[in-house]
Every structure is written in C-alpha cells, then in structure tokens.
C-alpha cells in the first residue's frame, strides 16, 4: 500500500540561497560556540541522572572532607584565639591543691604561705602578685554608720575580702580616689579598708578626704581608697577589702584562697612551673596552677592533627573521585560512539568532540565540588553549633574547593576526551543506536 503523498509544503529555500563557502563556515560566529558546547555537554550529563549521582560521589566525599578538615582547623584556631585574650595570656592563678575526702567533700592539701607575694615576685616573668581570701565576719555587719535600730530590716552588707598589698596591681585595679593599702598597713594590721566601687556606692561613700569610716561589727575601719576597673576577680568591686594582716588579727583568717599573679606575655609555662616550687620547695605538687597555655603551640597542634589525617583522606577520596569520573566518562564515550560518529558526519571537528567530553566531565566535577563544599560547610556549622563554637570558614576555601572539583573533573576528562576524538567516524557510524 502506498501512502498518500505528503502534502506539498512551502518549498525549502534549498539551494536557492547563495551558498556560504564551507571552508569559511568554521569562522562564523555561531559555529559550535561556547554556548552550544555548554548546552550539548549539559544534555550529555543530564541524560543519566542516576549515574551522575554515583559519578560525583567520590568528588563530593573528597571535597567535603577537605572543606571539613580545613574548616575545623580554622574554627578550632578561632576558638583558641578567642580564649587567648590579652588578660588571660598574662594571668596565672595558684590555688591550694584539693583532695577528695572520704565523705565526698574536698579538703585542701596545702596552704598558700602568707608571704606568697614576696616568694613569687622574684621569679622571672612575674610582674605582680597578690593573695585573695574571703573573710568570714560571722554575725557582724558592714555599715557606714553604727545605728542600733531594732525596727530596721536586716540588710546583707557587702562581703569582706582580705587581700595582700600587691593584689590590686595584680588584678589591674585602678584607684579611683584615695590610695591602696601598703605592706605597712598589712604588717601593723591597721584597721583600714579599700572599697570596691559598687560597695562604696552601697555604703554611700564617694570621697575619702574626710577620712570616712565604716563599721564591721563594732570596730571602725578608715576608708582610705575606692577602686574600680579590675579585670580579674570582679567580685572585688562589690567588696570591702581589708589587708591580709588585719583580717588575721581581727577575724582569725586561716589561709588565702588563691594567689593572683600577673605575668609577662609568654611567661605562662615558666611561671606555672617555678611558682609552686617557690611557694613550697618541698611539696610543689600540692598547688593547682591555672596558667595560659602557649596559645600558638596549641593552635598548631590542633591544626596539624586534623590536617594530617583528614587531609590525606580527603585527597585520597578526591583521587578516587577523579578516577571515577574518568572511568564513567570513558564508558560514556564507548556508549556514545554512534553519537560521536553522527556529530563528526554533521561537521564536528575532533576538537569539538573532545571539548564536549572535557566540559561534561568538568561540569560533573564542578557539581561534585559544589555539593561537597556545601556538605562540608554544613558539617562544620552543625558540629560547631552542637559544641557552642563559632564556625569559621574562609569563603575562598568554600568557593575554591568547589572549583577544585571542576579541576579534578577537567583532568579526569582529558583522557576519555582524547579517546573520543580519535574515534573514526567510519567505524563509529557502523555501530548501532
């Protein structure tokens, strides 16, 4: 049976148009331009989405582990830098060691000597030191005026803290008005006090030139100064500070709570080692020392640990990813021999064919890189949030690793593309499809 003749449609302008010299066709603007190349490559990639996922898996893993590795190193470095502020770097705190007692409590294993200040001041790197101890004043109250008013509500007076003369300097306190007590006051157990700024406010004292007094219990103490701006032991601002010697004489203070030492930057390790020996040469191990770690060293350690293990894993995964892309692209070349032959017959040059496969594998690599760096960034953020850290990631790291994926794809596609371009159209067209 013969089909009815196809309707005569308007004739194609076949051969009517002045033919373009074919030799020059290659130089015309729209001869397989970059846009065409990308469109063709994206069709090639999109043809098999399932395979695309498998192909990119290696690159995704590799890029993700690189981003995670470097991201965590940066985050950890940032975390350390945050703790490593200027004050913390110059502060050493020594406390008497503690041990667990049978009934679950703790007991001090040593006592800070009363002359701790003098003992550590001679050490290299120490710029100032002072003892601190809370003073138990029992039933006594701290007042500015001793008024015996039975109807007045009971008030909670400011706490009393004993300090050695060097403390104020060691915690970087500033004298707002008056002066601080000195070793003389301490040695004579003079009844003088220095008020923290907020305690002074509570007690209604703002100037000391009139030699105001406060009462702790029944004894009057002369206020000789008001301090402010301490950077450590902020509780001093709320406290009435008396000399250590006075506290021992009047309130039977038995021992200091801690020794604050201001050190030069970088002297932390040295002071931490020497100070306990200076305090008690026979049992230096009985003190617990809080000293700044040598920040940069710690930072390097963290970075080095993370980098070596994961960086190698990341690079291996990336290599595997690249081989995967190369393999799949090679497979794809073999599968699409017919397409290659067709394109050649349509006028594609060997470079056009090679370019198409290279771009395909580079785009696959770029996709893997993008997904990988997104996953890596996500992992860094999640882990940081869980640990309460500030996630720090260099934007160039994220973008660069996505691009690295593209580079891996590009390298992986080179050989398959070469193979594709070497395929003879004659043989290619004999194949099926």
């Amino acid at each position: 049976m013969k089909l009815p003749r196809l309707p005569r449609l308007p004739r194609l302008p076949l051969l009517k148009r002045k033919p373009v010299p074919a030799y020059r066709a290659g130089k015309r603007a729209d001869h397989f331009s970059a846009q065409d190349l990308i469109v063709e490559a994206s069709y090639g990639i999109g043809a098999r989405p399932g395979r695309l996922v498998m192909t990119t898996a290696g690159t995704v893993l590799g890029i993700a582990s690189l981003v995670v590795t470097i991201g965590f190193a940066q985050t950890a470095a940032g975390q350390i830098a945050k703790q490593f502020d200027a004050v913390a770097a110059t502060q050493v705190i020594i406390e008497p060691g503690e041990t667990q007692t049978a009934n679950g409590g703790t007991a001090a294993t040593s006592r800070l000597p009363w002359d701790s200040e003098l003992r550590v001041e001679r050490l290299a790197g120490v710029e100032g030191a002072g003892l601190v101890a809370p003073v138990d004043i029992g039933e006594r109250t701290v007042t500015a005026v001793p008024v015996n008013d039975p109807s007045a509500p009971e008030t909670l007076g400011p706490p009393v803290i004993a300090a050695s003369p060097g403390l104020l300097a060691a915690v970087r306190g500033k004298v707002v008005t008056g002066r601080a007590f000195d070793t003389g006051h301490d040695a004579r157990a003079d009844r003088v006090v220095v008020l923290g700024a907020r305690a002074a406010e509570v007690l209604g004292i703002n100037r000391v030139d009139s030699q105001p007094s406060i009462f702790i219990g029944d004894h009057s103490y002369t206020v000789i100064g008001i301090i402010d701006g301490v950077e450590r032991r902020a509780d001093l601002l709320d406290a009435v500070i008396i000399p250590m010697g006075t506290a021992r004489a009047d309130f039977g203070l038995s021992g200091a709570e801690e020794l604050q030492i201001q050190i030069a930057v970088g002297a932390g390790a040295l002071v931490a080692r020497q100070a306990p020996i200076a305090l008690d040469p026979n049992a230096p191990e009985n003190f617990s020392v809080v000293a700044p770690s040598t920040g940069s060293g710690l930072q390097e350690n963290v970075q080095a640990d993370v980098n070596v293990v994961f960086l190698i894993l990341g690079l291996i995964a990336l290599l595997a990813g690249g081989l995967g892309i190369a393999n799949v692209t090679l497979l794809s070349v073999m599968e699409r021999i017919g397409e290659i032959g067709l394109r050649r017959s349509l006028g594609a040059t060997t470079r056009n064919i090679a370019g198409q496969f290279v771009v395909e594998s580079a785009v696959i690599g770029l996709l893997g890189g993008l997904v990988g760096s997104a996953l890596g960034t996500f992992a860094v953020v999640i882990v940081s949030v869980v640990n309460g850290w500030t996630p720090i990631l260099d934007i160039w790291l994220v973008l660069g690793s996505a691009l690295l994926g593209a580079v891996v794809g590009l390298a992986a596609g080179a050989y398959p593309a070469l193979r594709a371009s070497r395929i003879e159209p004659v043989t290619a067209l004999r194949g099926g499809t």
């Binding site: 003749r5 349509l346 040059t349």
Partner: protein
Amino acid sequence: MTEPPIVQLTNVTRSFPGPPEVQALKAINLRIDKGEYVSIVGPSGSGKSTMLNVLGLLDRPSVGEYYLDGELTQLASEDERAALRGGKVGFVFQSFHLLPHRTVLENVMVAMLYSGVPRKEREGRARTALERVGLGQRLTFRPATLSGGERQRVAVARAVVSEPRLLLADEPTGNLDATTSGEVMDLFEELNADGLTLVVITHDGNVSARARRRIRIADGTLTEIA
C-alpha cells in the same frame, strides 16, 4: 554559466594496507551533476561503504582527486573537511543515529551546531524541515516513541536542514518495512524534485530502481546500469 558538478571523482583508488592489501575502490571515475538522483547498488563487500565514506569526506582516497562542489578536497585539513562535511553534505544512515534523550526538534537542531547557522535561525529552520517531512506534529516527541519510518524522516529532516549540496543515504531503508520504505523513498523523490542532489547506497533492488540513474559497484569498480 556552467556550474561545477557536485561530485567529480577522478581515478580514485582507496586501498587498505594489508597484508593482503585490499583495493576497495579501483581507479573510479564518477561525475554527479546538480539535481541528479543516483543509486549505487552492490553486494556487501563490493566497496559500497568505502564509496560512501569517500563521498562523505569521512575517508580519504589513497590515490586520485575528489572535487566536491568544485572544491578539491585532497589538500584540505581535517578541520576544513569537517567544515565541508557540515556545510555541503547531509547523511542519512541505516540505523538513524538519533540522540535518544533529545526531542525530535532538538535532534534536527543538532545538525546546525556545526554548520554555522546563526543560533536564532536554528529553531525556525528545524521546524520548517520537520514540517517538510510531515512530522510537524511530533516536534516534542522522543525518538523512542516514534515508528521506524518516522525516525528515518527525522533523520532526513536533520540531513537537509543545513541545506547541503549533496545528500548521502546509506541503506536508508535497511531497518524499515516495505510500507515505510516507500514513504521514505517518496520523500527522497520530493526532495530531489526540489533540486537536491541525492546519492542512495543500497543493496535493495526495489530502492535502487526508483533512482533515475543507477550505478552498480562490484569488486571496487563502477558500471552504469541505465
């Protein structure tokens, strides 16, 4: 004005180095003028495929000269031959060679990627070509959903959309039944009537019988039948 012939083969020999050396084409002389409809028949192994490859610039003659539309192809570089192929020759294959993941329209547009058709003209020309072969209603179909005859018509549309000087068909009905073969051959006749130069290579006597000029190829040499 005398136009040069579309195809001018002078003493073309194509030999494949052995051992033993095989001469697939032996000192062939052939001239095909514009608007001719030529069929080349011959049993398998007679040199048909080599003939097609030489005519389509997919292969180079070992000896002899080949002028395509007045241009000597011997001295052209591979890139120039690719450009000539894209601009002057259209191919139709036995197994269609359509891209399975692309629509009919896109399959036709692929032909214009390499032949230098301005991008904004491509879609319109592909539509016109598909309407010309009677597939105007199938533009968004995938090849897998088309019948064999429809697929071959898509391939024909793809071959003619770049306005080639020469259409080469290699066993165009080899995968088709008698009815659809007839359809495709009708289409070829229409295209030829419009002025397209057509060379059909086949071993099917019925197909070759429809050509105005028939050439037999046997053992690497040509004989005119009628």
